[in-house]
């Protein structure tokens, strides 16, 4: 069985690729796969039908952590359903090969999803575990969504698909709750164990009814039936398979599965009989009103599903046998009828019975097949439908009026309902035949070329033949189905019924004749019936209720959204901060952890620095000009540097100072494009409110700092760091060792953030793809340009361009002194950055500081010489730097794994090296190199984006005169943007 599941899954994956070469013929391959499943199931028959206890079982551990296993079991009920699922699946797939245009580009997808559905349905009926059953159950819902919505461009199709999906998955979720309760109560999720344990009590009753909600929603039982007529937006083969044979039977299957154990749960029989009879009668009544043949069948299916639920739920051996027979009979005739509708729709172009006329003469074979299938549906002998209906009537009769003892009034009600429903069934069967095939006076004749292709009729002919043959061969059917009945407990005095075409004259036969006569009568009096229907029409529609609920949900969602989403960032911030102040403030009121050791300052110099910072911060809030505000904010940053430097944190001081400089420059690069004054359009509003919120946050944070410091009583983890960094990290600088060794994971995360931010900056500025390289002028061309210019100046000497600014910048923007100094010191600064990088392990410095220094060297080159100078200084892309950095860092992290060590284990080398003497090398330096590269990449990305790219965009149409010809602008193409 696992093999069948695997083959179906594999085939469903491969089919779309095959469809590229085979087109519509791919359906024949898919059909063969399903047929393989059918044959496999037939081969299992001897094992299945000998004894209930010896049913074939297969187990495969799936997710052991969740106790989920692929437990499959093929007992008689599963066997029956599997035969239907694979057999009718094969026939429908065969039919699809003639139904769709061979060139239809969607056939691959359709065949794949339909095969996947066959697999899910197969898994559902052989699942031996409630959770596996649930997984397969929901899988059928999802695939049915895809199949109903096959015509993706049609709104109606999408809406119907969603309607079916929501209805059945909501039902499925309710069912899951019930299944979990059952599994917990029985102490196992195995279905046979649950059935054997048969837990009882109020909780079990609740669980069973929750499961029934799922089953009834799947089987389209009133009041959850509305999705099935809606699902007729699906291609007709889908309806023939899902909505006649397979998916809608899942609910009936589950009822049949549970009935032997749980039919005596209080309310079970009453609820199922009441809902089933209501569904059967309402469905039949609605079917009589339909003018679309497919909808007629859909309501007919709803009606028959009600019929099936009544008989499946009753729970005696006789009714179980009758239910199995009816299940088979219905699958055969109803899918065949849907296939007939498909033929009519393909050939005649409509399914409207008011527009169809004379088809019986045009396609006599189709009409003949349809007549057989309809006769089976109506329960006319000698078709199998008659045999099944006799069995149903007998089962209910025996329960309602047993030979001795009191009868069950519920069974009597069910019997009356079934007879009433069957009468309607006969009537709408006749209406179908009349509507589809009879010549109607006054209806325009169909086009002359409307004929049925023989190839299309194969599948329905097979189904009709089966319906016909199983009548006389009822004994054969009984041989297969009696084991389904054997699952139900044997009751005392219960008469063991046997399926047969002729049981002699009895009450069952009388009721059969009554239903047929009543149905023919209703059909003959159809005009009067129609008038009655028009009068009784209430206009209440379950589907309308569904749509109203859905749009109601949308409206509520809308209202909730508008309530909370005001669209104003300051508003959101104010709310968040107010909650923070109130919440944290409330917690602070009740705390008694206050510090005892508070001193006014660490060093008196702190007070001076602090005063400057406070002044600068307040000035920042009052600044009217962008640059002024920026400078005072920068002052607070440099104040931080001073505090770090005084507080024994040289690494922080260096890094803070460098970052502060780069931040200032980045700000200036952007602000040069913005007007000098702040808040031109939005003046500062709500000043008082903002001040209150700001001051409250400040005060709360101060209190938090006090309480937090008092709460810190345990020995800090870092007390051991100084020793650790010498012994494990082989470095004297504890902070650096912490970054690259002791807490390297933090740094790893930080690198990821930095790369994301750098990429974000670039993507905001480079709109048309990340053209990563800076503009570069070919050296030879530059030299030629310079020579030409010099030649024009009639000097005639041979010189090359050393500083590009002379060629690319407006002379008024240049400072030759600056350019020369920067150019001269550039390499020295780069060397300094490398020194910081490698010295950092033992002295203040490290990858961050080194990278920032190198970045600053680039900044200087850019500021002095413009973007071409930057391109010459950094002839590689920022992305490559970032990528190389993170590659080195991850490589370093993962490399120890290959020698069997933990991630990020560092090693230490020491040795003599020629000329350099004693050399020590700690492998964590490699990680620091990665950090260095990422930081350089970040600064370069910021410069490229906020500097060079802003330059280019800012120039607009202005041409740059680089290259030999001053009148041929190099930047012309750029300027055109």
């Amino acid at each position: 069985m696992i093999v069948v599941l695997a083959v179906l899954a594999l085939a469903s994956v491969l089919v779309p690729f095959l469809a590229r070469y085979m087109g519509g013929r791919v359906f024949f391959v898919a059909s063969a796969v399903a047929l393989g499943g059918f044959i496999h199931t037939l081969a299992l028959s001897p094992a299945v039908l000998t004894s209930v206890a010896d049913a074939p079982v297969e187990r495969l551990s799936w997710i052991p952590q969740l106790q989920l296993t692929l437990d499959l079991r093929m007992d008689a009920l599963s066997w029956l359903l599997t035969l239907i699922v694979t057999g009718i699946g094969a026939l429908v797939l065969l039919y699809c090969g003639t139904y769709f245009r061979p060139t239809d580009p969607t056939v691959g997808r359709f065949a794949a999803v339909l095969l996947a559905f066959v697999g899910a349905m197969y898994g559902l009926v052989v699942a031996d575990d409630v959770y596996l059953l649930f997984v397969m159950w929901e899988a059928t819902s999802v695939f049915s969504y895809l199949l109903i919505g096959h015509y993706t461009s049609r709104r109606a199709s999408r809406g119907a698909a969603l309607e079916a999906l929501i209805t059945t998955t909501v039902g499925g979720l309710v069912m899951l709750v019930g299944l979990v309760i059952l599994a917990v109560q029985a102490g196992s999720s195995s279905i046979p164990v649950i059935l054997a344990e048969t837990p009882s009590g109020a909780l079990t009753t609740t669980a069973i009814f929750l499961v029934l909600v799922g089953a009834l929603s799947k089987s389209a039982i009133v009041p959850l039936h509305f999705w099935l007529p809606g699902a007729m937006a699906a291609p007709t083969p889908v309806s023939a398979y899902l909505h006649a044979a397979a998916m809608v039977k899942a609910g009936v299957f589950l009822v049949l599965r549970l009935a032997p154990a749980f039919a005596d749960v209080p309310g079970w029989r009453l609820a199922l009989v009441a809902l089933g009879v209501a569904t059967m009668v309402l469905g039949g009544w609605a079917a009589l009103r339909q003018t679309d043949l497919k909808l007629l069948l859909a309501y007919g299916t709803v009606s028959q599903l009600g019929f099936l639920v009544v008989i499946s739920g009753y729970g005696t051996r006789d009714t179980a046998l009758a239910a199995a027979a009816l299940l088979l009979a219905h699958a055969l005739f109803k899918s065949g009828l849907f296939l007939i509708v498909g033929i009519i729709d393909v050939e005649a172009g409509t399914r409207d019975l008011r527009a169809l006329t004379g088809l019986g003469r045009r396609m006599p074979v189709v009409a003949g097949i349809a007549a057989l299938l309809l006769a089976s549906m109506a329960g006319v002998p000698p078709l199998f439908g008659f045999v099944a209906k006799e069995a149903v009537l007998h089962g209910l009769l025996v329960a309602a009026a047993p030979a001795d003892g009191a009868g069950d009034p519920v069974a009597l009600a069910a019997l009356i309902g079934v007879v009433l429903g069957s009468t309607l069934t006969v009537a709408y069967a006749l209406r179908f035949f009349w509507g589809a095939f009879r010549t109607k006076p006054g209806v325009t004749a169909l086009a002359d070329d409307v004929r049925a292709r023989p190839s299309m009729t194969v599948a329905s002919a097979v189904l009709a033949t089966a319906s016909l043959a199983l009548g006389p061969l009822a004994a054969l059917a009984h041989r297969g189905l009696r084991e389904v009945a054997a699952l139900a407990p044997a009751r005392p005095r219960a008469y063991e019924y046997e399926l047969a075409l002729w049981h002699g004259v009895g009450l069952e036969l009388g009721l059969s004749i009554l239903t047929i006569a009543g149905g023919v009568g209703m059909f003959l009096a159809r005009t009067r019936v129609e008038r009655l229907q028009a009068r009784l029409s209430t206009g209440v529609d379950a589907s309308d209720a569904y749509w109203r609920t859905m749009s109601g949900v949308d409206r509520i969602a809308n209202r909730v959204t508008t309530l909370t989403q005001r669209g104003s960032l300051p508003f959101y911030l104010a709310v968040i901060l107010s909650v923070f102040v109130l919440g944290t403030g409330a917690a602070l009121v009740f705390t008694d952890t206050w510090p005892t050791d508070v001193r006014l300052w660490d060093t008196p110099a702190q007070v001076a620095v602090g005063a400057v910072m406070i002044g600068a911060a307040i000035a920042a809030t009052r600044a009217e000009k962008r640059f002024a505000a920026l400078i005072v904010v920068g002052v607070t940053g440099f104040g931080m540097t001073a505090i770090f430097a005084m507080g024994g944190a040289p690494d922080l001081a260096i890094t803070q100072a460098l970052v502060e400089i780069v931040t200032l420059i980045a700000f200036i690069l952007v602000l040069r494009r913005l007007p000098a004054r702040l808040g031109d359009r939005h003046g500062s509003t709500h000043k008082l409110l903002r001040a209150i919120i700001g001051i409250s946050v400040g005060v709360v944070m101060a209190l938090v700092a006090l309480v937090a410091s008092a709460s810190r009583t345990a020995e800090p983890i870092s007390a051991a760091w100084p020793a650790l960094s010498r012994v494990i990290g082989h470095g004297a600088n504890v902070v650096n060792v912490a970054l690259v060794d002791l807490r390297a994971w933090d740094t790893m995360g930080e690198l990821a953030v930095v790369i994301a931010a750098a990429t974000g900056v670039a993507s905001l500025l480079f709109l048309r793809g990340r053209t990563d390289s800076l503009p570069r002028v070919p050296r030879a061309e530059l030299e030629r340009t310079v020579r030409d210019r010099l030649a024009r100046d009639a000097r005639g000497s041979q010189r090359s361009a050393w500083i590009l600014a002379g060629l690319t910048l407006d002379p008024r923007n240049r400072s030759i002194l600056l350019e020369v100094v920067v150019r001269l010191t550039f390499h020295a600064v780069i060397v300094l950055s490398l020194y910081l990088l490698f010295a950092g392990h033992n002295l203040p410095g490290g990858g961050f500081a080194g990278g920032l220094v190198a970045g600053l060297a680039l900044v200087a080159r850019y500021l002095a010489g413009g973007r071409y100078e930057l391109g010459a200084a950094a002839p590689f892309s920022a992305g490559a730097l970032l990528g190389a950095g993170i590659l080195i860092a991850t490589g370093y992290a993962l490399a120890p794994l290959f020698v069997g060590a933990e991630v990020m284990t560092s090693t230490y080398f020491e040795g003599q090296l020629w000329l350099l003497g004693d050399v020590e090398f700690v492998t964590s330096t490699i990680f620091d190199i990665g950090v260095y590269l990422v930081v350089v990449g970040l600064v370069l990305d910021v410069l490229r984006s906020l500097g060079a790219e802003v330059d280019r965009q800012g120039r607009g149409g202005q041409a740059l005169t680089v290259g030999g010809d001053a009148s041929a602008p190099l930047g012309a193409s750029e300027g055109a943007r």
């Binding site: 749009s551 505090i643 931040t663 359009r681 700001g694 810190r712 902070v735 905001l764 906020l946 965009q953």
Partner: protein, 163 residues
């Protein structure tokens, strides 16, 4: 654990001024406020280091660990400083983008949210009830080249209904 009241006050002021700026509608001020809040948060972390000592450059592993300024907050801060820079660079790029697109560095209220609230905009509901088509072979609205099968029949259907 000792605590410097001066630094606590500086931190509180930086928080207050930063939040004040962040509640503005000018994007530039928001970013400046963000920088102030960043500095304030860094101060909070360094405050948690407790008593300040000498720089944690260890020459002798056996030396008393208490004499150094706690290296743990320092390591955290070093990453925090660089991340603050990376994030503010990103916000600067946002300012520039906003300026290029709208010639403004303002935080306007989200137009969609406002429209939703005033009812000017209704969320389109994708689902609609199934229609009444009586054939599956409708012309594909997305495929203008596709032939229209059953058009004649459809017309006949119309006539049949009106009759």
């Amino acid at each position: 654990m000792t605590l410097s009241l001066t630094l606590v006050i500086v931190m509180a002021v930086l928080f207050a001024c930063g939040i004040y700026l962040m509640l503005e509608r000018s994007l530039t001020r928001v970013v400046l406020g963000f920088l102030l809040v960043g500095n304030a948060a860094n101060l909070l972390i360094i405050l948690m280091a407790g008593a300040q000592g000498i720089a944690p450059i260890v020459e002798d592993p056996a030396a008393d660990a208490d004499q150094y300024t706690d290296p743990l907050p320092q390591a955290l801060l070093l990453t925090a400083i660089v991340i603050t820079f990376a994030v503010s660079a990103f916000m600067l790029a946002l300012i520039y983008r906003s300026w290029r697109l709208a010639n403004a560095d303002d935080l306007d209220d989200d137009a969609d949210d406002l429209a939703l609230r005033t009812g000017a905009q209704v969320v389109p509901v994708e689902e609609t009830a199934p229609d009444e088509a009586t054939t599956e072979f409708l012309p594909d609205p997305l495929d203008p080249t596709e032939a229209v099968p059953g058009t004649e029949v459809a017309e006949r259907t119309e006539r049949g209904e009106t009759r």
